[in-house]
Amino acid sequence: MLHFVTGKGGVGKSTVAAALALAAAGRGARVLAIELGDPAGLCRALRATPPAPGAIVHAAGGVHVAFFDGAAALAEYLTRKLHLGRFVRPILEHPLYGAFVAAAPGLRELVAIGKVRDEYVLQRRWEVVVVDAGASGHALEHLRMPAAAARTFASGRVHREAAANAALLRDPAACAIHVVATPEEMPLGEAIQTVEALREHELALGRVIANRCVPPAPADVDAALAGVADPTVAAVLGRARAWERLQERGLADLQARLGLPVVRLPRLPIAELNAHARALAWSLVEVAA
């Protein structure tokens, strides 16, 4: 299975992606975690040293990690796909090539997805590939690019490559694009927009994952809250209760609008990201299956 993880900035995407990878590895699968953007977050969450672009390193918990740097990946990919042999350097250094690559802006996104597909489909080495696809806008650019490129490039290798990538991203049996949010107004709003965009482009939607949820409050909590005498404690708990109300309302609204169940992940005490990823892996075993 190929998993993509996205969501608004700051909701814990990298941690959730790492947790998903650890959950799959915990079931005995051979797992590769890939970062499409800055590798720092995912590597922190998997406690791996950031690998060189294109290299694959072993991380804790039986997961391997890779990240793809745009320009280098593109050169490597074109070299391999075009079988250029000894003409590689003169072509890559030619100003025409530079102009083409700069002016065909979708090419890098296309190659990033192409490399993910190569690792997932063509290399039989991995059973599960988890991609930390970055913030929603960034991720959607990547995920929409194969279909867009297949239209722009009407023929040639790029067209065939793009069409194959687009088909993979639309196949729910092979691919799942998960949207992460925290149970707050703006991240939930962005999650709804992202899911709608994924549906509009017929991309393989996975699960909506709500990170950092507090457990629902018991029915009699307001009576208990009214009995708290210390004003500092009452103020802190009053705010916690207000947040919990908005969490429940926001999650109910999201479920109603999207017609989708939400996977809840618990709010964890402040700790380093790897501890979070390992703790959250328990809650994602079913998603990783």
Binding site: G9, D38, F87, H94, Q193, V214, A224
Partner: protein, 328 residues
């Protein structure tokens, strides 16, 4: 200088920071504060954050102005594609030249998804708003880039893109063209040639604008505000971003740590309700962990930078309260 003075003495305030720290909220609160101080302020946002529009009482999909105290607050959301198309229309020598470009697939990619394209249009809109002279101060909420510093590189990126390839003659060029045709198809190469031909009529005008934009970003009119949050990973990114801003000669003036929590007494007795007890324990642990990382961070900032700590508000954003916490 305090943040209020920084905002009072600049025509441009640019909020930068990693995703999820509340950059849009801080940008809007700064603009609201400037309006309350009697200025004609505008906040230009990139995120289609409807929640912000609601908090401002303004429909962000259309530029609207509302009187606030003695000043005026306007808000607009950047329409990237529309802004690019208007930019082309302004700089194309003829309507026909503009039409050719607008229909070109390479241009359409440039205007929607080229790396740096949103960033550059945000800067261009900023310059246009200032030139129009309808606002005393424009607050820009920068796009959530993978690397926030992309924002400063955007004018150069656009410039580089427009460097037309000259070495088109010779056997090597023909060979490269053949290889690119094999890869991308001959239609794509024809479109690319059309793109460069159509763009060449605009290049002089566009270059003058990118030069102007670069000067504006580094000039005395602009102040950068770095927005961050009290988490170790965010503070790490913020340190790197502050260093990068220095390298790019951006005038960083203030650091805002958003959504902090008050220090709490550790011992509050035992609460009868376990749910409430768990929330209290969380709050105490978070406050302690925050204090441990925040104080060294604030102490490590260079002297002369304004530093503001904004406490976490209610779940629903109250911009007036945020502006008050910012001291503006």
């Amino acid at each position: 200088m305090r943040l209020a003075e920084i905002v009072a003495h600049h025509r441009i305030v640019i909020c930068v920071g990693t995703g999820g720290v509340g950059k849009t909220t801080i940008s809007a609160a700064i603009a609201l504060g400037a309006a309350r101080a009697g200025r004609r302020a505008m906040v230009l946002t990139i995120d289609p954050a409807r929640a912000l529009g609601r908090a401002l009482g303004i429909d962000l999909t259309h530029a609207r102005s509302t009187p606030v105290g003695r000043g005026v607050l306007a808000a607009a959301m950047l329409d990237q594609k529309g802004a690019w198309d208007a930019f082309v229309a302004r700089h194309a020598p003829t309507e026909a030249a503009a039409r050719v470009l607008l229909a070109n697939p390479f241009y359409q990619r440039l205007s929607t998804s080229f790396a740096g394209s949103t960033e550059y249009m945000a800067i261009e809109e900023l310059c246009r708003l200032l030139d129009a002279g309808e606002h005393d101060v424009v607050v820009l909420d920068t796009p959530p880039s993978a690397h926030a510093i992309e924002f400063l590189r955007a004018p150069e990126r656009i410039d580089r893109l427009l460097d037309e390839p000259h070495e088109l003659a010779g056997a090597m060029a023909r060979f490269v063209v053949r290889q690119l045709e094999r890869a991308a198809g001959s239609e794509a190469l024809r479109e690319l040639a059309t793109f460069y031909r159509a763009m060449s009529a605009l290049v002089a005008g566009v270059r003058a604008r990118t030069r102007y934009a670069r000067a504006i970003l580094r000039g005395g009119d602009a102040a950068f505000v770095l927005v961050t949050g009290p988490r170790a990973s965010i503070l790490d990114d913020t340190r790197a971003l502050a260093a990068a801003l220095r390298v790019h000669a951006a005038p960083l003036a203030a650091v805002v740590v958003n959504r902090t929590h008050p220090r709490l007494p550790a011992q509050a007795g035992v609460l009868a309700d376990p749910w409430l007890q768990a929330r209290w324990d969380e709050a105490v642990a978070e406050a302690a962990a925050e204090a441990a990382i925040l104080e060294p961070f604030l102490a490590s900032l260079p002297a002369g930078l304004a530093r503001v700590v904004v406490p976490e508000g209610d779940a629903r954003v109250d911009l007036g309260a945020v502006a008050t916490h910012l001291g503006i």
